[in-house]
Symmetry: C2
């Protein structure tokens, strides 16, 4: 089964296109966890236990583990063990280096951590992405148009007929020989989501930027899903994991994930 | 002292523009180290001890430590301790994420690991780079034109008057408010090094791609250094650290570093 088939099958099984971003910070998690041996692990475990019925994927952002130093990777490794089978594990790592180096990043995230997929940065071009594409069962979400203000700086660089992000989408479609490529397009750009979906009808799109970043959920779901209302994942991080920092934080996160799942499915059902 | 002043002062002190890339792999280091408790650490320690008289900087590439899993960051942390004061520590991490996340990468590399500088990817634009720029004593080398074949895919995307990599160089010049920005331009593109040096007369340029990747040393030194033959660093990784995999590996690495220093200084002296 290719990664893209897996994404489709697993999200159908869960009846959900929700991706929960794991961005755990010591200063933001509930104070009651701070006396645990590993508060970040305890937080991740509780969030996963509470939210997993409602989600298709978890997306740990590596920065939040790297900032912990040498214990961070142990925490990440242990956290991943709490994600049940049938739910995607996406490394939000935004890596990319020359081929000789990307090969090792691929080993780190796919062989060592056993992630199902990774986010990568396209700036270094094909040979920087190729090592991540070798195993058809592992997915690669290439940054296309990001959700942040800085997306204006280079991603709209225009050659007279198209923007850079459109060229990225086209190239990634060509790279998708093993049906394991996807794209990242922020919900803060709904019109561009429509453009990218047209350029890449068969690629999964990972959509960050709903929730705290203010992306438009209705238009994002409408434009980024394929004709069957599938093949997209909508990430919320802070809006789910930090809905409460009291003793009800896990219940509140579950509630937020359930609401998001329902809201997305309602929009999909109207397609 | 800003990072760019520090780079100038320290490279003068060492009379060297050599940067040694630390890309240690278990399959490539001398077999005689494999019975050490931490062979990668033992290798790094020996390479640094032998080469440090000839170099201005060390540039560990994070991928080579991440692939080791949870022990990798401990190995990196310990390796950095063997780099003497007065020699730059550059994290070749090629990070970049939305501002809220880049902030944590900056903490990881500057506060936790105490690197002097980091390589970052420009694709996500200003707010993804800004958190790395806050401390004027820490440097940021932004990828501009990379040494690999994939640099053709997007970095030459042209808006009718210029390529994307030129636009990146111009933007980074604007971001250089605290005199701590630099650029990465591969030695495999000597003509473009000249173009970038013209666009960014006051920025340090980190030049990978000499050695195994086949970049032209003479033209690279000539075009990337400033009018005084300074403000550039030339990285060699495999060509130095893997010159021998026998018991003389450290001596051979020192020899390679010394030769590279001499070759570069000869070209600089002709400016």
């Amino acid at each position: 089964m290719t990664f893209n088939e897996k994404l489709l099958a697993w999200s159908r099984q869960q009846d959900s296109l929700v991706c929960v971003g794991l961005d755990p910070e010591l200063g933001k998690i509930p104070g009651l966890l701070l006396n645990q041996a590993d508060p970040i692990l305890a937080f991740g475990k509780a969030i996963i236990a509470a939210t997993h019925p409602y989600v298709a994927a978890y997306k740990p952002n590596l920065a939040f583990y790297e900032v912990l130093g040498k214990t961070g990777w142990e925490t990440l490794e242990q956290t991943l063990k709490f994600i049940p089978p049938g739910i995607l594990k996406i490394a939000d790592a935004k890596r990319g280096d020359i081929g000789n180096t990307s090969r090792l990043y691929a080993k780190a995230f796919f062989d060592y951590f056993q992630f199902d997929a990774i986010t990568v940065n396209p700036y270094l071009g094909y040979d920087s992405v190729a090592p991540f594409l070798e195993d058809e069962t592992r997915g690669v979400f290439v940054l296309c148009l990001t959700s942040n203000p800085g997306s204006q700086d280079f991603q709209y660089f225009n050659d007279g007929s198209q923007n850079l992000f459109q060229q990225v989408a086209k190239k990634v479609v060509q790279w998708n020989k093993k049906a394991n490529c996807g794209l990242v397009v922020g919900a803060t750009h709904p019109e561009e989501l429509r453009i990218v979906r047209e350029l890449a009808p068969d690629l999964p799109i990972l959509v960050p930027g709903i929730g705290v970043q203010g992306g438009d959920l209705e238009l994002s779901v409408k434009y980024s899903t394929n004709v069957h209302g599938e093949l997209a994942l909508f990430n919320s991080s802070r809006g789910i994991i930090y809905r409460s920092n009291q003793s009800d934080f896990a219940e509140q996160a579950a509630q937020a994930a359930a609401e998001l799942k329902t809201a997305i499915n309602k929009i999909r059902s109207q397609k």
